[in-house]
Assembly symmetry: D2
Homo-oligomer: 342 residues x 4
Amino acid sequence: MAKIKVGILGATGNVGQRFIQALDNHPWFEISALAASERSAGKKYGEVADWKIGTEIPETVEDIEVVTIDPKKIDADIVFSALPADLAMTVEPAFAKEGFVVASNASAFRMEEDIPLTIPEVNPDHLELIDVQKKNRNWDGCIITNPNCSTIMMAVTLKPLLQFGMESINVATMQAISGAGYNGIYAMSIYDNVVPYIGGEEEKIETETLKIFGEFDGGKIKNAPFKVSASCNRVPVIDGHTEAVWATLKDDPKPETVRDAFLKFDPGLSHLPTEPKHPIIVRDEPDRPQPRLDRDMGNGMSVSVGRIREGIRYVALGHNTIRGAAGASVLNAELLKEKGYL
Amino acid sequence: MAKIKVGILGATGNVGQRFIQALDNHPWFEISALAASERSAGKKYGEVADWKIGTEIPETVEDIEVVTIDPKKIDADIVFSALPADLAMTVEPAFAKEGFVVASNASAFRMEEDIPLTIPEVNPDHLELIDVQKKNRNWDGCIITNPNCSTIMMAVTLKPLLQFGMESINVATMQAISGAGYNGIYAMSIYDNVVPYIGGEEEKIETETLKIFGEFDGGKIKNAPFKVSASCNRVPVIDGHTEAVWATLKDDPKPETVRDAFLKFDPGLSHLPTEPKHPIIVRDEPDRPQPRLDRDMGNGMSVSVGRIREGIRYVALGHNTIRGAAGASVLNAELLKEKGYL
Amino acid sequence: MAKIKVGILGATGNVGQRFIQALDNHPWFEISALAASERSAGKKYGEVADWKIGTEIPETVEDIEVVTIDPKKIDADIVFSALPADLAMTVEPAFAKEGFVVASNASAFRMEEDIPLTIPEVNPDHLELIDVQKKNRNWDGCIITNPNCSTIMMAVTLKPLLQFGMESINVATMQAISGAGYNGIYAMSIYDNVVPYIGGEEEKIETETLKIFGEFDGGKIKNAPFKVSASCNRVPVIDGHTEAVWATLKDDPKPETVRDAFLKFDPGLSHLPTEPKHPIIVRDEPDRPQPRLDRDMGNGMSVSVGRIREGIRYVALGHNTIRGAAGASVLNAELLKEKGYL
Amino acid sequence: MAKIKVGILGATGNVGQRFIQALDNHPWFEISALAASERSAGKKYGEVADWKIGTEIPETVEDIEVVTIDPKKIDADIVFSALPADLAMTVEPAFAKEGFVVASNASAFRMEEDIPLTIPEVNPDHLELIDVQKKNRNWDGCIITNPNCSTIMMAVTLKPLLQFGMESINVATMQAISGAGYNGIYAMSIYDNVVPYIGGEEEKIETETLKIFGEFDGGKIKNAPFKVSASCNRVPVIDGHTEAVWATLKDDPKPETVRDAFLKFDPGLSHLPTEPKHPIIVRDEPDRPQPRLDRDMGNGMSVSVGRIREGIRYVALGHNTIRGAAGASVLNAELLKEKGYL
């Protein structure tokens, strides 16, 4: 069977490189186009990408000629968007109009009423918003989005807790510097330091979570009724977001019961190539999970939890540019393909 | 007026060095004895102290001959204890029995019913437990303690919030590596990493806070009625504990009202030499306080707060080995002197 | 063909874990025994190894029962030694006497006259010292060693420069903290710091290099005649040693000529499973190689060079616990097998 | 006696802040003007300076109104320049023409024939180039410069070695991130990393050193005859440059002799307010100097040396933005005043 052709918009940046890593040797998808700014267009990817992942740049993309971010320049069925929000705002609709499926990691359209904000393990049914969207907007293609990185880690772990009656959530994040992009943070700002602020991040966690856990009646999503209160911090860690979560649950389950729920969590997606064996890994050591040791579990797609205590309090951790960005989009695309949208 | 003679128990360690720094050129106190393990005894302090603070070792202590930790070897009115908890358990009572005032940073006796656990700006009246203690234990001297470092930063900031009716507190800490002592954490454990666990720390914050804010009726302390839930994390920062606090307050004050309360906070202790001009500093920048930039404010004795948001949520920060340890003990001793106990 | 059985001595430590990583799914070798201290013996490897590499522990070793470091407990043809030098001093001869080939990463026997100190790309002929050794010592087995991590990076890059007439070398190293073992360095010692000293390291580079480049006449090795002067520093980097090298060469070649020599370097070992495609990778960017970006090249077995300038000066970099330790020993064993010693 | 009025050009940046720190409460100088870009002009310094030093901003400058970098706006006898090289190129001559003494930390004019490049402890006589300069250029004022930060640390330590006959120098630097300015280096570039390249730095060390040690005959400086070869590296350290130096000396002195020379080094400048008690501090511990522990010695003005070994090899260390920048300029100005040029 021929592979599905995929393009990457914003292919040279931090998340763009993670998309390439996630799609290299993918069993269903094949990179057919790499799009970036004018400056890079016309040159070989290997020449313009300042490859920073710490592995060799995949040979399959090294010689691909980079094109501008223009629907006419791209031969693909789906494009993955690693664009900044402001650029995504105009570019993504242009691609959707031209018939492309756009799987976006950008925040531009996440909170739009008719655009799915999806984590396959959490709210796969929301993908069906696509039908509403196409009708509304008269597009041949469509846009689907994945949540913000810090939202994803938490949301995956909240899913198995819903059964206990979610009342409210407090979450303090300790986020990696790669989350701000390669050029996002100066060394003098974060070394031997914590920055207790990430612009827009708390709002994203607080609003996106409610949409993700909202009820979809085939037409609209009704936001989840609980409250999320976030305190976001940047810490001197390269990759991997750590989150201290307090989940107030109506049934007041014991920590062991919550641990069991995490262990039993099986969203039934193991046939998707990017889905890890364990979407949630439970660590019983007193001092895990830790970003340097656990961020790469499940090829960076597992969320690790630990320190489940009364409260219920626990720690969640995942790789922000894989599980929290490129991998999240690719997993969404795989689900889309399985559901017949691709 | 002659200065009061002070000794330091555990003078060579991390906190011991901070005691020396805090007492060097002190207007009321004069270091008369430095006590450490057998290994160091008999040698000059400058030879055995592996001075690690990043300033020159004060000349006044360089040539002092270190003695063993023995009441008979020490000529002083008060001793500051930077001992580990297990050693403090037997040593501190021995000194108190021999008539010394022991101002301890150790955790050994903090939660004892008749031993004050004091922060001068928060519960100065608890010092009067000394009278109960002396009677109970038939000691000539006494033991007073200061709370754990992470408790102190939070407690100082909770004091001006009490007026709004404290109901419950969630706190996520991001603590510096110096808090574990110079040899407490391996570089491979914390570099590019977060360790979401510090042994015993959460229990300390949760129990000490209730004692500190307890009501003292002249005989006993009745614990404060609110609940504290802590999640403690170690982050790659040299000095300075950062804390994300959620304080649920009965009166539901606005952030501006809380900010005002912080600004107006004046415990009336400015005559104590170690008391900073502002025990609480309010930062209005969106991204402050930060440990590297704010830990040394007020000579390391100010607690900085910022990001006061609805909830009430805010960030508190202080220097863990100064405000949270040596400086806390010295400030307690100054208050003791003022109250006539010294 | 049945795989060769291999044991690992000191299997639970930092380098022991790297041996497991290097031998997992090895086409020629199969792990048959994991030996560690009494404390771990009798338990499953997965239970006692505090796995710290940041990948899942290989399933093939998780359930292996750890044995004590005793020749009688081990069924293998070759053992890899990740033991500390003092323990290696008595243990390794015991294994050699019992007929084992011991491929050691320890420093204990590196400088012994009849024990090969080998890097396959540099001095493969020195392996034949084994014959002398067996005769001398009347052993059924033998000991072969690989150099110290910082020596290896430099020696690999010196090999193609020999043709220009080596006169003297100055090298300043910037070494990763993993080189000291997981528990080797306190966070307070190295964070925001450089430690310009590593015990014994300069002597190792200065003496080992001369033996490696020594002439072997079938009986003895005559040390190379040039001089090496090293200045070793520890820097806050997890993995990867960076070295600034000055090589004074008789022919005074131009930087381009040296670059060519690096590019053309082909030791003809590409049939060995652990040999990377490029043992030396030449980076032409002005600011490479860098440890975080280049240490994993060639699965951690390539040495990257860059900044080749007049002098001749250049920068060399390699992964200290792979190319500089476990991978070095495994590559030696592969060469041994090829030469018929296994 | 009235204090001399001083202005600071580029007062809001990293080095500008260090100038303020060095001049706050200075016994001879008094800050009368703070100049910065248009954007900051007209506002209070405390409002526009993003103060990043980790101490309170001095009250004496908080309310000073920032002016543009224009000779007409500034009432001062001397201006300190913390400008970037390109801006310094046009601005500094404009000030000199208008009669100001310009003490510059910028690289723009360091290598000009008639402009002194001075370290008071090393080549105080070069200041007399001012007379040549004024004549040449027909200026009422003048420009004097201090060397690049990494040059200064080394040059101070080379001075007492000159007596042994300097033949050549190799130096590998490990430089702090503050050296690139607050916004100079991205966190993703340097965390868990070494960058073996700093643009223009090696050339600066190699050329500036020869001018500094050049012979001044009253008219011209004849460059020193020895050769300097540098390899410059950026390491994850906030402040403090560490340098591994090889000095080939004709007399081949023993390490003890060199140590003695360092200890006896007394440039006779102890009457200058910024001169530290010991311009060179000798550390005898095997693992010192270290940037975090030694950079602040002598208020950041001492250069610490250690690990003096045969070769002669040693390690030198100093605070790059104090001894290597602002403090160097202020010390030059103090010498100028003493010599009657101010």
